[in-house]
Amino acid sequence: VIAALRVFFVGGVISYRALFNWIRPGIYVTTMLGSPLFQILFFTYLGRYTHSESESFFVVGNAVQVSSMSAIYGMTMGIANERQFGTLQPLLATPANRLAVFAGRSLPFVANGLIVSAFGFGIGRLLLDFHPAARSLPVLALVVLVTTCSCTAFGLLIGSLGLRARDVFFGANLVYFVMLLVCGVNVANGDLPGWLAAIGRSLPLTHGIQAARGIADGAALGDVSRLVVVEALIGLAYGAVAYGLFRLFEAEGRRRASLETF
């Protein structure tokens, strides 16, 4: 167990440092903070123009959604780039616990998602009409944590597909934009056609955003607990499927000697 925990924590940090050694402050600020800042402003101003929802609706939706940037893109790279960088074979030759190897990678992205989301909420507070009660902030943070974990599990799924697919980043980009449409970020789930709303409800983010909006409007954790539990369960389901796929593609890659072929 201790070895697995070491792989989980230490391995997770080392893999992040190795796979993301190209991250510089300039890249981080422009991509992880600058882009979310303008996304929140863009949709809030668009909401002002269309009169579709309140400003708080757009601030909360987008501030939670931007956490998925780290969760989806980061996690996809965290798995798929082992193959791109040619380090997948040595990694899979080790006897380390696969679940610890696999899950440990998610920690930096969860932390990153929380930072980006907090920045988004801060922007909403400073520049827009978003003024949640101070007592709601810890619960809001909890909801964002659960949602970020759920999105990270979804990112693990896409990353696992990267062990087989040729161009996984197309999928990651597409999923990210589709989530912007169907997960209630800028359009309430009830305003979408039934089939789009159903897709949204089966994805991470939707229930988390709904819960976060409730909290920001003054609801207690108990009032939104069902949404938070559903969000967590969706994340667990995607995480389980992702792990299954990871093991499947590992076994298939060994059998066909195709771990690093494209």
């Binding site: 510089r24 300039g26 890249i27 422009t30 991509t31 600058g34 882009s35 303008f38 996304q39 402003l41 863009f42 101003y45 668009l46 909401g47 002002r48 123009y49 269309t50 009169h51 579709s52 929802e53 161009d167 980043f169 197309f170 980009n173 597409l174 934009f177 589709v178 912007l180 449409l181 800028n186 359009v187 309430a188 305003d191 979408l192």
Partner: protein, 260 residues
């Protein structure tokens, strides 16, 4: 070079890059799928809001957002990509002026943005019953290529200045939303702080969308906006040429042409 080889080089370069970009899944995503998704978001926001009868407005705006994205990502990293592919030295050493090699590329990145307009209009028509009645079809037929041309020239400025920044892609990520916002592609400038209008005035997409909207909805002539778009295109070409000359000189002096 005489006119004929120049034109042939220009056309061959533009066509080559157009085909190349069309085969890229990334550009398929940002020129077709992303605008459709943003158009859908905007359609739903208009439908659920109290502002009616503006779906064509949203389709045109989202289409132009796609042109900007493809120009930004395609042109912003154009020189860096040539460096990574190892073709930059060959292009610089070729007898043809580097400007004539690069302009077709930046123009091609703006041209594939036309897919965006077609995609958002078709999507809007099929799924949201957006009426495709244009008040001045001829003006629209002039406004669209003029907008693409001026964005292509803006792409030249991006290509020749972003090369100074080591992380051009990250910078491109940053500039996508702000330009969508300050050029009034979907959000009217009257809702934004007054100083934003000064920035919008210098950016071709803001004149392009005004021209396209004037041609589509009528009410006023699109020619002044088309003229402004063309004027900015010429200004960008001059600025891009100066920046490019400077880049080429510095890269030769410091022997940094192939350094990524």
């Amino acid at each position: 070079m005489t006119d004929e080889p120049m034109l042939r080089l220009f056309y061959a370069g533009w066509l080559f890059h157009l085909k190349n970009l069309t085969n890229s899944t990334f550009f398929l995503l940002i020129a077709v799928l992303q605008p459709i998704i943003f158009a859908s978001i905007t359609f739903f926001m208009f439908e659920s809001g109290s502002r009616g009868g503006t779906l064509l407005y949203a389709a045109l705006g989202a289409g132009l957002m796609g042109i900007w994205s493809s120009t930004l990502f395609g042109s912003g990293g154009a020189i860096q990509w040539q460096r990574w592919q190892g073709t930059l030295e060959i292009l610089i050493a070729a007898p043809a002026p580097f400007l004539l090699v690069l302009v077709p590329l930046t123009l091609a990145t703006a041209s594939i943005g036309l897919y965006s307009i077609c995609a958002t209009l078709a999507w809007g028509r099929i799924f949201f019953s957006v009426p495709l009645h244009f008040a001045h079809p001829f003006q629209l037929a002039v406004a669209l290529p003029t907008t693409v041309l001026s964005l292509g020239m803006l792409g030249l400025v991006l290509a020749s200045t972003f090369v100074l920044y080591r992380h051009a892609t990250a910078f491109s990520n940053l500039l996508e939303y702000p330009v969508w916002l300050v050029t009034g592609l979907l959000v009217p400038l009257s809702l934004l702080p007054g100083w934003v209008s000064w920035i919008a005035w210098t950016l071709a997409p803001s004149w392009g969308i005004r021209a396209i909207r004037a041609a589509a909805f009528g009410g006023s002539s699109a020619w002044p906006e088309i003229g402004m778009c063309a004027f900015l295109g010429v200004a960008y070409l001059g600025a891009g040429w100066l920046c490019l000359r400077n880049f080429e000189r510095l890269a030769r002096e410091r022997a940094t042409l192939a350094l990524t």
